[in-house]
């Protein structure tokens, strides 16, 4: 069943010239990120084509959120570069959509569900341009897709966790991007929302979009994703789920071998200013 899906997808990829001719949806090269001199990600290399649903999996503090934020240029890189569709990702933001973590938001903010989703359209508007009728239509379509249309005029605090996540997803849909980064879209949602979200993600994947999804639940990771990115401060493994999702690699990701890396990072942090000087 799963293999069927994948081969079907491959054949469509061959039929439509766009994804094959184009540069990879995302290419990350030698990406290193440090917080206050403390390295949290070391030398990450990733290359993904169009139409892939990629799960980012790893223990707490592995740098999963950091990876997608750094890839989008929201954090300064210590080294490395990121390209989307053959151009530096920063110059290609229109084609990149983002779902942040739910906890990062002030849910009491004076904003309605429809307002939040409308923000997804901002990337398509000029600097001074106001949202047009078409943008409002798209907002309603996207809300309908996640079955949140009846809540369009609600203030966002009056929603359940699953509903809040659906609003974020609707906003991502409204972005009409080709490459998505989603930070724990399944965190704190009910079972029916989880089903709804994963089928929506698959739908997006089937229409040729590439999705990077930070995921914390190993029991579903293998089911949900075409490819897995096993992360623990460095790239442990990246590839097709059935090749990568092995007991050895999972053990390597979650196991204790990496403490030495953390210790080195701590040592660098304590030696203030040392890393920079040594680089030059």
């Amino acid at each position: 069943m799963k293999d069927d899906l994948r081969s079907a997808e491959k054949s469509t990829a061959q039929v439509s010239p766009e994804p094959t001719q184009e540069a990879p949806a995302l290419e990350i090269h030698d990406l290193t990120v440090a917080y206050q001199r403390k390295p949290v990600l070391w030398g990450i290399d990733v290359e993904v084509g169009a139409g892939k649903l990629v799960g980012i999996v790893g223990p707490n503090g592995a740098g999963k959120s950091t990876l997608i934020k750094a890839a989008m240029g929201l954090l300064p890189l210590s080294s490395g570069w990121v390209e989307a569709f053959g151009k530096p990702l920063k110059d290609n933001l229109k084609r990149v959509g983002y779902v942040p973590q739910r906890e990062d938001i002030d849910w009491d903010f004076p904003v309605t569900v429809a307002d939040v989703v409308l923000m997804g359209r901002y990337g398509h508007l000029g600097i001074f341009q106001r949202p047009k009728k078409r943008d409002h239509e798209i907002v309603r379509e996207c809300l309908a897709k996640v079955r949140m249309l009846p809540f369009a005029d609600r203030q966002i605090a009056n929603l359940s966790g699953g509903q809040q996540q659906r609003v974020f997803l609707a906003r991502a849909l409204a972005q009409e991007s080709d490459l998505y980064f989603m930070d724990e879209p399944f965190a704190g949602v009910d079972a029916s929302t989880e089903d709804a979200i994963i089928s929506l993600l698959r739908e997006l994947r089937d229409s040729g979009k590439t999705l990077f999804v930070v995921h914390h639940d190993l029991s579903t990771a293998a089911d949900y994703f075409d490819q897995l990115l096993l992360l623990n401060m460095r790239l442990v493994a990246f590839g097709d789920t059935k090749e990568v999702f092995t007991p050895e690699l999972v053990q390597k990701t979650y196991g204790g071998q990496l403490t030495i890396m953390q210790q080195v990072a701590e040592a660098l942090k304590l030696e203030e200013g040392l890393t920079k000087e040594l680089r030059h």
């Binding site: 934020k69 989008m72 240029g73 929201l74 920063k90 933001l93 990149v96 959509g97 983002y98 942040p100 990062d104 938001i105 002030d106 903010f109 004076p110 904003v111 309605t112 307002d115 939040v116 923000m119 901002y122 990337g123 508007l125 600097i127 001074f128 106001r130 203030q155 980064f181």
Partner: protein, 521 residues
């Protein structure tokens, strides 16, 4: 502007809006005409109303402001009515200048305050408003007079410096935002007070207005001040209007905004600069001690009244205007009392009203809703007791024959109520058309019967669900169900029934009532 035949009257009126300490200056000027308004229209703030607000009270107690109680003017030759007409007709250029200044201040502080409140930067606004003081004093030292441009530049420099210090302390040490704000607020403000004291001890220059920067004096606004206010307000309106989208999205979700290519940091600093500008121009009218209240209270009031940012900003501006013009008006009426505290008290009064009565977020409507809910639950408990009695007596199957009727005594015993309590309870049922009282017995109406069935069904379904699906012992489930029966909606009930495959017997062996289609909601 031009002194006309009414100049005598104007003078009398102007005098009334002055207070004791300015008389010194006035003596040298002789009779003041409107052309000299900028020097004449100065008034001392009084301490009386400052006490109303905690911060102000602190400073007063500390004696920092050297505030003197203003003297209620001796001029009483016009009625209150006449004064009201004078104020609102704005024939008097002095009143006009003050009111225009107040309106502009209401707009700029309401607008920018709206952003800082939703961005949780209220204390940053407070800190900047205190941090500008040494800059004001240095600006004064430049020419030894109140040159608006020199004061403005000095204040903006000090304000920005204060903001920079806050982030420096936060980023380079372990000290967190709140303490960093406290350090900068206190340190800069104290420095400003020191410089002021030194200036005032020394001779020379026009020192008269310096205290106004602490406690504000709307009546002392010069046309130059008002022009500066107009420029700042215009700039704020223009930028927020042009970049509303960007301000909106970066206020709500900074990271997402950046993922769209909106430089959140740039808009943050733009907001901070505009904030510093508007604080500086508002300082003359409200004073450093209270200006942050003008930035916080109107938007906080609006926050309780609406759930959308653009409405919040609009309401905040309206409340800001009402409070500042209202403050100026009251201070005008009471002759010589300070404008700043009046404005803040007016704004605080608006807040209290919103706090108590806002339909969505007010305290009283919430208490009212809760009381309504308590009453509904009580009614439903009475209905449930009646259902249990009917069930015990004849079984629900024979309801059709025996009627949905219970005797007063049995229900009273079941509910454990005395006669008065019982009468109230039944009266509530009757009022809601749930039951009828007929000599010695209570009969449920159609609606009452349906509701009673629903409550009992909800209770038993939930108990069954807990024992079946969650493996909780059957003697542990009753208490929860007592609350849950009242709050689960039709959707959840349907889901429960689906999961329980329409089971009809609860864990204690009682029947789960079936509510007929169409009647059940």
């Amino acid at each position: 502007m031009k002194a006309d035949s009414g100049v005598g009257k104007e003078v009398a009126f102007v005098k009334r809006w002055q207070s004791g300490r300015e008389r010194e200056r006035e003596r040298g000027l002789g009779v003041a005409g409107p052309s000299q308004r900028s020097t004449v229209l100065r008034q001392r703030p009084s301490s009386g109303l400052l006490i109303a607000l905690a911060i102000a009270a602190l400073w007063t107690v500390a004696g920092v402001g050297e505030v003197q109680a203003a003297r209620i003017s001796h001029v009483t030759d016009t009625s209150v009515g006449e004064q009201v007409v004078r104020f609102f007709s704005m024939r008097d250029p002095l009143v006009r200048t003050a009111v225009i200044g107040c309106i502009l201040m209401g707009i700029s502080s309401g607008l920018l305050g709206g952003f800082i409140v939703v961005r949780r930067l209220a204390l940053v606004g407070d800190t900047i408003s205190h941090a500008v003081l040494p800059g004001i004093m240095m600006g004064y030292l430049w020419h030894l007079e109140k040159d608006p441009v020199a004061l403005f530049i000095g204040a903006v420099i000090a304000g920005v410096l204060g903001a920079v210090f806050v982030s420096m302390i936060r980023q380079t040490t372990r000290i967190k935002q709140d303490a960093a704000l406290g350090i900068v607020l206190g340190g800069f403000y104290a420095l400003g007070i020191l410089i002021k004291s030194i200036i005032q001890r020394g001779a020379g220059g026009d020192q008269s207005g310096l205290d106004d920067f602490l406690f504000g004096n709307a009546a002392a606004l010069s046309s130059g001040d008002v022009i500066l206010m107009a420029v700042v307000t215009g700039l704020a309106l223009l930028l927020v209007g042009l970049f509303y989208k960007q301000f909106f999205v970066s206020s709500f979700d900074e990271t997402f905004a950046e993922s769209l290519g909106v430089p959140s940091q740039v808009f943050h600093y733009l907001l901070m600069v505009l904030l510093a500008f508007s604080i500086v121009v508002a300082l003359q009218a409200v004073g450093a001690v209270l200006v942050s209240a003008m930035l916080i209270i109107p938007p906080a009031t609006a926050y309780l009244l609406t759930d959308r940012l653009h409405k919040l900003l609009l309401l905040s501006v309206v409340i800001g205007i009402v409070a500042s013009v209202g403050g100026a008006f009251f201070s005008f009426l009471s002759t010589g009392l300070p404008t700043g505290p009046f404005m803040i008290v007016s704004a605080a009064a608006c807040f209290v009203v919103a706090f108590l009565f806002s339909p969505s977020h007010g305290v009283l409507p919430r208490i009212f809703r809760r009381r309504e809910q308590t009453r509904r639950i009580q009614r439903e408990n009475t209905l449930k007791a009646m259902y249990h009695l009917i069930e015990e007596e004849g079984g629900v199957d024979v309801v059709a024959q025996s009627g949905r009727r219970v005797s007063v005594e049995s229900l009273m015993t079941k509910r454990g109520r005395d006669a008065t309590e019982f009468d109230t309870e039944i009266a509530a049922l009757v009022r809601h058309d749930l039951a009828r009282r007929e000599n010695g017995s209570i009969e449920l109406t159609e609606t009452g019967w349906t509701r009673a069935q629903e409550i009992v069904r909800n209770h038993r379904l939930w108990e069954l669900y807990l024992t079946n699906a969650a493996d909780i012992a059957s003697d542990h489930v009753h208490d929860d169900a007592e609350i849950i029966e009242h709050v689960i909606g039709a959707e959840l009930v349907a889901e429960l029934e689906k999961q329980l495959k329409n089971a009809r017997i609860d864990p204690h062996g009682s029947n789960i009532p079936v509510v007929e289609e169409g009647i059940a909601q």
